[in-house]
Amino acid sequence: MRPGIGDLTEPRQPKGTEPSEAELIERAKLGDAEAFQGLYDKHKRRVYSLCLRMTANTAEAEDLAQEAFLQLYRKIATFRGESAFSTWLHRLSVNVVLMHLRKKSLPVVSLEETTQGTEEDSPKRDFGADDVALAGSIDRMQLQRAVESLPPGYRMIFVLHDIEGYEHNEIAKIAGCSIGNSKSQLHKARMKLRDLLKMNRAEEAGKTRAG
């Protein structure tokens, strides 16, 4: 089951004695340091993970997570609760990352990759690892590494759709591409990930045999 966009809080449930998010927001509006930190603690992993997946760079991800929280905190006095706080923070974080990628002139959706993809990622493509099945569960660390090695355009669509739970129409708006383009990029990203994971398993199997 894919997580929804609104479900942005940390995996652990708050204890009964901890203040609610609404309370933290109200206290943060009054300049309460603990409330700012409380909100940060609730959402830091999700925001930072998003930044890290999109950039595949720890230092950049830290800077972007910091920027996302700061932008949010600067506007917190205007928060009226019409939408979920987590949704607000999440959209803002995505915007911060996309702005950063655009500044770096990295393709948000790469046409080049799309073109290459028709050859490279055609159904007949074979990395020589096709006999390795991805049976059972997929190791999180391996998937993480594979996502990091995706080209930036594929990575962004995969992160937004499959990790963060955005729909294609939302991605199309965010990334400024067509819905069809978003769908086709996602499919290619998944196919590429499958290849990468299979290659990884084939290499490991080879090492085991050699060992």
């Binding site: 940390e10 995996p11 652990r12 603690d41 992993r45 230092a59 660390m141």
Partner: protein
């Protein structure tokens, strides 16, 4: 006479026993995941962080009196340790010495006013703030290393591919085998010693207002070097290819600028002082 000596011994014994009773040890264990965050805040006393063998954080604390307690908390992958001073605690009775084992990939934040800080064999981020005592970081790779100190000396040894930032008011800063994309030291009066190769195509910026700056590097170093002392002297033992353009007037004896080695893979090295001396030395090769 014998009675007096016996009385003295008893008195000493009472004092020693009292001290032993007051000193206590605590040990805490925390299970953490990859890339955990560990912070230790300790106003008085040393903190030494080393790698653990598995995904656990082990905290050994020696409390020097009952006027200090150790607060600890774990919030997911983050562990916070803090010396909690009780009423009447001072720099002696409030002292706690910590030895902390963390997974090598953990990020650590250490803070002590009077105790030494030491971190070794890690590849997570290291953030240390001291005041008067020594700060020592060694065998750290692929990490941010941030150090702040007032007058305690700072030793950085074998930091590979680091993002190193040191702020020292008057403590001497010594770096051996330190390289990475950014190595920056800012000091008011502390001496700065760099022994290494300015590698990794990084930016090396060493600045002290009145402290001397000495860099000892092999002749094969590839770097774009500029050095300037406003009121002090500069010495250069290594021939540099002169540059056509600099940001500042290159007064002989007060500044030099040039390149050495292969320009394509070179690092940028900026050495600045107001009244200190700058010396770029050639390292003798034993190989």
């Amino acid at each position: 006479m014998a009675n007096k000596r016996a009385a003295k011994l008893v008195a000493i014994g009472v004092i020693v026993a009292g001290t032993l009773v007051a000193e206590s040890r605590k040990e805490y264990h925390f299970a953490v995941g990859p890339r955990a965050g560990v912070s230790v805040m300790n106003p008085y006393g040393s903190i030494w962080v080393k790698p653990s063998l598995n995904n656990t954080v082990v905290v050994n604390a020696v409390l020097h009196s009952d006027k200090v307690e150790v607060d600890n908390s774990q919030n997911g992958n983050r562990v916070d340790i803090q010396s909690h001073l009780l009423a009447g605690a001072d720099s002696d009775s409030g002292r706690v010495d910590y030895e902390v084992l963390v997974p090598a990939d953990a990020s650590i934040t250490l803070h002590s006013s009077t105790g030494s800080l030491r971190a070794e064999k890690l590849h997570g981020d290291v953030s240390l703030e001291g005041a008067g005592a020594e700060v020592d970081v060694r065998d750290v790779s692929d990490a941010h290393v941030h150090v702040k100190t007032m007058n305690g000396p700072v030793n950085l040894d074998n930091i590979q591919n680091g993002h190193v930032e040191v702020d020292s008011l008057s403590g001497e800063v010594t770096m051996r085998g330190v390289n990475g994309p950014l190595v920056q030291v800012v000091s008011t009066s502390g001496k700065i010693n760099y022994i290494g190769d300015f590698g990794n195509s990084g930016e090396y910026r060493l600045t002290s207002h009145s402290g001397d700056i000495e860099a000892t590097i092999p002749e094969w170093t590839s770097a774009d070097v500029s050095a300037r002392s406003v009121r002090g002297e500069v010495h250069d033992d290594i021939p540099l290819q002169p540059k056509n353009h600099t940001w500042f007037p290159v007064d002989k004896g007060r500044a030099f600028a040039g390149t050495m080695g292969r320009v394509a893979v070179s690092s940028t090295v900026v050495l600045r002082t107001f009244s200190g001396k700058i010396h770029l030395r050639k390292r003798s090769e034993n190989k």
